[in-house]
């Protein structure tokens, strides 16, 4: 009998020049529930940092798997109520009240696994431009919701905190699933780092940098990471943005007791 195990590594950093407290990306995982997710709060929204963190917290806590647009919409509705309730009880300045009227927005990507007797399966759900990439050996075999680095420049539809726009947004949810192979690496990345990673992967001779990124995250080599990312920013390939990354490496351990 083979047992599956997950090695999880992560990296979270604010825009250059801002403090950790101002980072609007959020990430989290629960290996017992085999759930991993990341949210990228939109700078233009009202308190998108809190919205991103709430989405992550409640996606991991949810008692049922959230793997279809319908369930995602129901679940967003409940998280939205918590978000709105918090602000309704406070007295706000005219400008905060006006900003709050528009609500918060975040890109979201979630990854979960479930086992059957003969295999392990992954399921991913995404709305916006935070991505799940599946790297198998030397190939990116899945990239969702976006796969082309050039497509990151548009304004994506995000998860809104205002439920009146939720129905329209859920039409843009992307769900995908597949069978896990031992050695698979699943990368959850917020938009700027996803675009950078995909661009490097496509360019001849640049893949080593993408793989170095994974290695530096896995080894928590933050100085090396900063050098690599600063290089990306200086040559204009990496936008100055918050960065969130989770790398999940799946292994199959053979149980020798059998």
């Amino acid at each position: 009998m083979a047992a599956w195990s997950f090695q999880v590594h992560s990296f979270l950093a604010p825009k250059v020049g801002l403090s950790d407290r101002e980072c609007e990306d959020a990430l989290g995982w629960n290996t017992r529930k085999q759930r991993f997710c990341l949210a990228d709060g939109a700078t233009e929204g009202f308190n998108s940092r809190r919205w991103a963190r709430l989405l992550v917290k409640h996606w991991l806590r949810s008692t049922r798997p959230i793997t279809t647009p319908e369930v995602f919409a129901d679940w967003t509705h409940s998280v939205s109520s918590r978000f709105e309730k918090y602000w309704r009880s406070r007295r706000l300045s005219w400008f905060a009240e006006e900003k709050a009227r528009g609500g918060a927005f975040a890109a979201f990507v979630g990854l979960s696994f479930h086992e059957s007797s003969e295999a392990l399966y992954w399921q991913a759900i995404a709305l916006g431009d935070s991505c799940m990439l599946l790297r198998r050996d030397d190939e990116i075999v899945e990239s969702l919701p976006l796969g082309d680095p050039a497509s990151f420049n548009s304004r994506p539809i995000l998860v809104p905190s205002k439920v009146d726009t939720l129905e329209t947004a859920t039409n843009s949810i992307v769900c995908r699933s597949g069978r896990v192979e031992p050695g698979d690496s699943y990368l959850l990345l917020s938009d700027s780092i996803a675009a950078w990673y995909l661009r490097l992967w496509r360019e001849d001779g640049s893949r080593t940098q993408a793989l170095a990124f994974e290695e530096f995250v896995a080894r928590s080599s933050y100085e090396d990471l900063q050098l690599l990312l600063n290089g990306g920013r200086e040559c204009g390939l990496l936008r100055n943005d918050d960065i969130a990354a989770i790398i999940v490496r799946v292994r199959q351990d053979i149980d020798v007791s059998e």
Partner: protein, 278 residues
Amino acid sequence: MAYSAEISRGNPTCFVFLLDQSGSMADQFGGEQSQRKADFVADVVNRTLHDIVIRCTKTEEVRNYYYISIVGYGAAVGPAFSGNLSGKSLVPVSEVAELPARIENRTKRVPDGAGGLVETQVRFPVWMDPVSNGGTPMCQAFSLVKGIIDQWLSEHKNSFPPTVLHLTDGESTDGDPSGVAQGILDQSTADGKVLLFNCHVSSRHSLKIEYPSDESRLPDDFARTLFRISSPLPEAFRRAAGEIGLSAPEGARGFVFNGDPVSVAQFFDIGTRPANLR
């Protein structure tokens, strides 16, 4: 590349609203439900300031991405803020947010979700009031703006350069403004030259000309003078124009001649859109 500096609290930019407040600004402007030009312009500037404040609002804090100046010229030339900011020539946006002269309740029509419109009450902060009195001392006004910008530039050498949004309905009454305006255009930061955009408004329903790239369609010397002291629109501003359906080809100047109320609203919208906020 010019006009690409990131706008942050450490590296803010500056908007100067330069407004004609001469006697002719009391004339009617627009169609059936017309307002006086001065009233309309004050409303548009107040709404633009509102949008700028909201853009800089992060939860309950307003970040100082911008410094704001309003200069009026007519019977007098000087800062045009009303209320607590009265007399101030340049104010960080957080102070603008905290100190409107007053907050009015206004009725706004919004979509009712079923294809119709419904009236709702909104809070409308007011920072400046309409004024229409005296001549059009444009040279004096540009001189004052140049001084404000000189001071600001000495402290923000690497910032996205200041943007001057000038609105007028008539010719200068204190001489040719070209020289002093050119003095503004010649100033720069490491990111590019100061941007000066000019919007001329007219009550006469004459043919309006928006964001031209050459002088061929301009009707007279006054229009050509304003064209020549208008900066070419950088890429982000041309994109903003495109997003609201206006054509602004490469080389288009930040210049409107014979503008109507729609042109004025669009002029302030496009002119306050340097995008690269951190």
